[in-house]
């Protein structure tokens, strides 16, 4: 995975001060993870299940954020050619799992800050998906 993609997203996550910002960056992160996970699923038979379910959870988390009332009305990130070809699947899994830890915490904070019930539910749902992805991509499911 291209570290520039991840670094930029992490930076946005760190500076996401409002619920709307958190939802917007969560949407982008989930979208990226969904695309990457789908492409990684066929690279190693042993990680087929883990990456396929990661893609499903990422899409679910993306849509949870995407239908939140406060998410900004912009199209969102376009993930056509993420620069990840050079990384191994294990490296990709580690990086995504680490990113999900940070994202999950940020979404839980946003759920607590959200004034709109729809935003609270969306942030909580998306946080659960981030936790699920972390569990899937951590060796042994730990």
């Amino acid at each position: 995975m291209d570290t520039e993609d991840l670094d930029a997203l992490r930076a946005r996550l760190d500076t996401a001060g409002t619920v709307a910002d958190a939802l917007a960056v969560a949407w982008d992160i989930f979208e990226l993870v969904q695309v990457v996970a789908n492409r990684c699923a066929g690279r190693e038979p042993g990680l087929f299940a883990a990456f396929l379910f990661t893609a499903a959870a990422a899409a679910e988390g993306r849509d949870a954020a995407g239908f939140a009332p406060s998410i900004p009305d912009i199209p969102g990130i376009s993930v056509d050619q993420p620069g990840w070809e050079g990384a191994t699947t294990a490296e990709i899994a580690d990086q995504v799992a680490g990113l999900m830890t940070v994202l999950g915490r940020r979404l839980e904070l946003a759920a607590g800050d959200a004034a709109v019930p729809g935003d609270r539910r969306a942030c909580a749902h998306a946080a659960r998906q981030a936790s699920q992805i972390h569990h899937l991509l951590t060796p042994g499911g730990r």
């Binding site: 789908n38 379910f53 199209p75």
Partner: protein
Amino acid sequence: MTGVTFGEFTRQVDQRLAAARACDTGQADPVAVARELRRVIGRMTRYLDDRAPGYAIESLSTVDMPPWQRAVVDARTALRWAASCLPGGIGTVDGPEPVPGEVLAGCLAKAVASMMAGRDLLHTHLAAAPDGWEGERSAWAPAVTSPPVTRALTSQVTHWSGQVALVAARQAAANAPGPPTPAGLADGLQGVAQWLWLAQAAVRPAQAAEPVTPGDQRLLAAIPAARGQRRVPPHGEEQAEALCAGITISAERLRTAVLITAQRGRWAPVSADTWRWSATAAAVTGQAAGHLLRSLASQPDTLPVPPAQLQQAADALHQATLAWRQAAAQWAGLATQTRGLASPVVTEIGDLLLRMGRLAWQDPHWTPAQHPAAAMPATAALAPGARQITAAMHQAADALAHLAAADATAITATGRAGRLYVRTRTLPEGYDVPRRYATRPRPAHLAPARLLHHHSTRQRPGRGQASRPGHRGRCPQQPPGAGPGRQRSPPTEPQPASSVRVRTGRVGSRAIRSGSHPRTSRTGHPATPPR
């Protein structure tokens, strides 16, 4: 399913009618016998009521009916006339049970009870749908209402009619006129016998035109009672035998869950999350099952079927896995307003997935989150249970085929109702929708449905799709276009890897079945395990 089958009740009826024929009619109370005869005739009539066409004027002319439909109508008419021959003074069908000592009437009463139980067993597979029509409650429902079962059942009922006619005729001959025997009872019993023989004869033209085959009779006899299997959640101590049994239970529960979800109608609140998750789980299940079959195929000495058959099944499952994976990928681009995994299908396919993975990778604690570092384990240890494993794979493949067919229908209906959304950034440049999601343009929504339909049935010629109005929001007013190529290309659809017809679940299940009753779409006979 339980061990009780319809065949057990037909054997009971045959035994009790044989016992009735052997009774001494001179010692019998003719009124009690006549009352039981009326009940027997009533029960047989109800069997034929279930099979008769639903229009009220069928008795005007049966000439143009199909042979067995005509046989049902004619036999039922004869039974009704038989019942009308009995005088009113003998009491109603809800009258008292025969007293002890009334041997003949008692035998007939027991035959009635077995007939009732048999009919109730058939009806455990059917239910009243919300729209009032008969709905399906189990995977056996299509078999219960199928032409082979109708033939076999009608033939069985008219056979009983002939047996009961003998009883009625003997009782009529033995009746002494006078009190307390009601007037006309002897003549009535004789009339009953005549009409019952006519009912038996009513099926002869149909038998000549479309004979009842031994397969029809076996199918009828094999129909079990539909009793929902209790869920057995996977746990870490299950070995191969328990895993196979659990897969079979999960497959049956999944078929039932699919039926229940489908019966909720096209407005059922199934979400894109559920469809996406189900497709993902089915892909992983298929991968594990294919691995198992390939491994078994490499050990020919222990197999219940030729290795080539298992290899064919493994290849078919590989195609299924590809199709399910592509369906899941298609779902990555679609969403519904309903979200979450609230569907009974999710639980059942989850159990199926866990057990299949634990069986395939020989890890009692396997989950999708496990990352096996070693190469795929050999399955030599599974060879002793090869028959059980192939049976379990057969059930799983069949259940997934059911899921694919039902999901394809539901997705198509959801799309046509405008309840599917796409990310607006995936729309063509001309679409100006100031939201992250917009109603999907056709035929993009049909991509996952087509994949699943292709997976579950043979390919059929495509149909043209009507154009639809444009989208909600600030979009171009012109329709998005009626056919492929006139709008932004939908996500890449899979092409069949070969000319092999990808009825994947059923090809796979048929390929690994050994000696079980054939499952065809015509009869709708659900999967049965290999014998």
